[in-house]
């Protein structure tokens, strides 16, 4: 937050759809956000919100078919990644933008040593020789806090614990000093004490390397402790975009409020959890208006008819909800009139 606000990544109106036998699933349905140099942006949402598809879309790693980025732009240092050739993209992946995934157990190739999998990326992007790349891989392993890295580098993934595998993934992702690191649920599969180690590690390395991080998670606690800003996603759309601290003290969107109230808190005694009624709509059959309207206690007629835009309501806060628009009061009057008649 202290850094100069220099935009490194800007996503505008991104659409990623999946074309299947059951119909078109609008997994990511028009999202926009910016990422500044060195900052951490959290993207939170429940399953089916489109947060993981968003992260894969950024590096154009959507399995195609059936997936396809159908619209929008992804500006990385001012250039649109969607306009680049596959060859140009390869030079960016793992080099300028890299990624770590949720399942450290399955994300490493079982038949190659940890060192080889890191060295491979170094050889590829930094054009180093075999020996130099290996030594650098060992250095990276030491940097991510793996004890006796020379020995561990030669081991295959099945010989490493879950926490260590995720460290290897981080070493691999940061080996080429990327400007952006996308971490897709990096600690979800890990135990809490290991999660704490990994989050601490990501924070430290981020500071040392000046990397901007996009952290995809479903855990609001993780967002609070690691992120500068946060985007809340619901059913393929961004419903709120604000400062990470702000979202806990001053949430705006009814979905965000509902999510926070549903969370069993470690720091509070709650007799009853306030819940959001109903379930997420099917991605094949989205409501015509605001996708949260069917579950929203405040919904009015306009919410079912038109999709609200993501609009600024403060210097750091954007929200996509009719409640915060001038139309809301008008709508109230109109509804009252209808009621009277």
């Amino acid at each position: 937050m202290k850094q100069v606000d220099e935009t490194i990544l800007e996503v505008k109106n991104l659409h990623t759809h999946f074309f299947t036998d059951e119909g078109t699933s609008k997994a990511v349905n028009g999202i926009s956000f910016t990422l500044n140099k060195g900052e951490t942006l959290g993207i939170v949402g429940e399953s089916g919100s489109g947060k993981s598809i968003t992260s894969l879309s950024l590096l154009r790693l959507i399995p195609s078919p059936p997936g396809k980025i159908t619209g929008g732009s992804i500006l990385f240092k001012g250039e649109d990644l969607l306009a680049k050739t596959e060859k140009q993209m390869r030079a960016i992946r793992g080099n300028e933008i890299s990624m770590i995934f949720q399942e450290p157990m399955t994300s490493l190739n079982p038949v190659y040593s940890a060192g080889e999998q890191i060295a491979e990326a170094i050889r590829l992007h930094q054009k180093l020789g075999k020996k130099e790349a290996w030594n650098k891989a060992v250095d990276m392993l030491r940097l991510v806090g793996i004890p006796s890295p020379e020995k561990r580098a030669k081991q295959e993934p099945h010989e490493l614990s879950g926490g260590m595998r995720q460290r290897v993934m981080i070493a691999m992702a940061l080996a080429c000093h990327p400007e952006v690191l996308i971490a897709d649920e990096p600690t979800t599969a890990l135990d809490v004490t290991i999660q704490a180690q990994i989050l601490e590690l990501i924070k430290t390395l981020q500071k040392d390397f000046g990397t901007a991080v996009i952290l995809i998670t479903h855990d609001l606690g993780v967002v609070y402790e690691t992120c500068d800003r946060v985007a809340v996603m619901y059913a393929g759309k961004m419903v709120e975009y604000t400062l990470a601290k702000e979202i806990f003290t001053n949430p705006k969107h009814p979905y965000t409020i509902g999510l926070l109230n549903s969370l069993p808190r470690l720091d509070l005694d709650q007799e009853e959890l306030t819940t959001i009624p109903g379930t997420v709509p099917s991605p094949y059959d989205m409501p015509k208006g605001c996708s949260f309207a069917p579950r929203c206690a405040h919904a009015r007629r306009i919410c079912e008819q038109a999709v609200p835009d993501l609009e600024s309501i403060g210097p750091d806060t954007k929200v996509s909800c009719w409640m915060y628009t001038p139309q809301w009061e008008k709508e109230y009057e109109a509804e009252k009139k209808v009621g009277v008649q």
């Binding site: 135990d191 999660q195 069993p264 819940t275």
Partner: protein, 328 residues
């Protein structure tokens, strides 16, 4: 809550339970070693309470649940349930006792037969224990669905037609079907999204009041545990490190492991500043656990005695038991 518990009746008492799984290997496939999944633990559950077992993977919390249900045959120990030792029961007696002991698993889909309708699944549960006469089963099933917040139409539908949260409700209905006394919830809400998890947690609490159920709640999520429990038991590498009522375990945790565990969880609270104990390294292997206190390899407050002598679980205050040399 602690005081109220005092006068209560003990429903289940676990005594010196051990669960060792053999490891085969070597030249002739002999048993070369054991995974000491649960290593000599004793605790009890009061009637009508929720006791939670928390801990990280490999601590033995799920193994304990499975041992109580005799899904795995324990190596040694006693499990007293309503005056009977479950481990000495014959097959037939155990089957009739299972009626009182039900379980809800993490993945409801895996435990529901995809080819059976919800009506058949619940009907089967009723038929096996034969608690409701045949003619009344359908109305009993509809009643059960009502209890868990599902409509009677669900009866003729198949598991794949339901969402994760609804399937977990079906799992709960199946457990409720036979009027059990104790329900073991093994990571029952862990796979659910926060908003759905909250619905299911509320449901469990309501049902507990309504039917005077006792829960053994196994979970790795301490937020959930704080919400649902009366008492909490913390396990590490097959041993109990701390048992206490909810209030004291969350507000005055005594064992260094419990404190580290609590401090490791990110909490969205700008007011509460917390000391963080960052543990180093991984959990050691349960095949060859460290001697002395099993936590001593990662403990920030380790003393010489910890490396040689295993601490016993001792009462530190009225409702609080800890196994740690520093505390005693």
């Amino acid at each position: 809550m602690g005081a109220a518990v005092e006068g209560k009746k003990v429903l289940l008492k676990v005594d010196q339970l051990k669960q060792y799984f053999p490891i085969k290997g070597g030249f002739f496939g002999r048993t070369v070693n054991h995974v000491k999944a649960v290593d000599d633990i004793s605790f009890h559950i009061y009637q009508g309470e929720t006791l939670s077992i928390v801990g990280e993977s490999g601590c033995g919390k799920s193994t304990t649940g499975r041992a109580i249900l005799r899904l795995d045959e324990p190596t040694s120990g006693h499990i007293h349930f309503q005056g009977k030792d479950l481990l000495s029961l014959g097959r037939k007696e155990m089957r009739s006792t299972r009626k009182d002991l039900q379980v809800i698993f993490q993945d409801p889909f895996a435990s529901l037969n995809p080819r059976q309708t919800i009506g058949q699944i619940l009907g089967e549960a009723l038929a096996i224990q034969n608690v409701v006469p045949k003619g009344h089963r359908r109305s009993r099933i509809e009643e059960l669905l009502g209890h868990v917040g599902l409509r009677p139409e669900a009866l003729d539908r198949y598991p794949h037609e339901f969402s994760g949260g609804q399937r977990q409700r079906i799992g709960i209905a199946r457990a409720l079907a036979v009027d059990p006394k104790l329900i073991i919830c093994d990571e029952a809400v862990s796979a659910l999204d926060v908003s759905i998890q909250a619905q299911v947690l509320n449901l469990l609490k309501t049902l507990q009041r309504q039917f005077e159920l006792t829960f053994l709640f196994i979970s790795h999520d301490l937020g959930v545990v704080r919400h649902i429990s009366d008492r909490v038991m913390v396990m590490y590498l097959g041993k109990i490190v701390e048992i206490a009522d909810k209030k004291s375990i969350f507000e005055q945790p005594q064992h260094p492991y419990t404190r580290a565990l609590l401090s490791a969880i990110p909490v969205p609270n700008p007011v509460q500043e917390r000391e963080r104990i960052l543990l180093t390294g991984d959990v050691p292997s349960p095949i060859d656990p460290p001697g002395g206190c099993r936590f001593h390899t990662r403990c920030p407050f380790v003393m010489d005695i910890c490396k040689t002598k295993a601490p016993e679980l001792k009462r530190s205050t009225q409702n609080h038991q800890v196994a740690c040399h520093i505390v005693s």
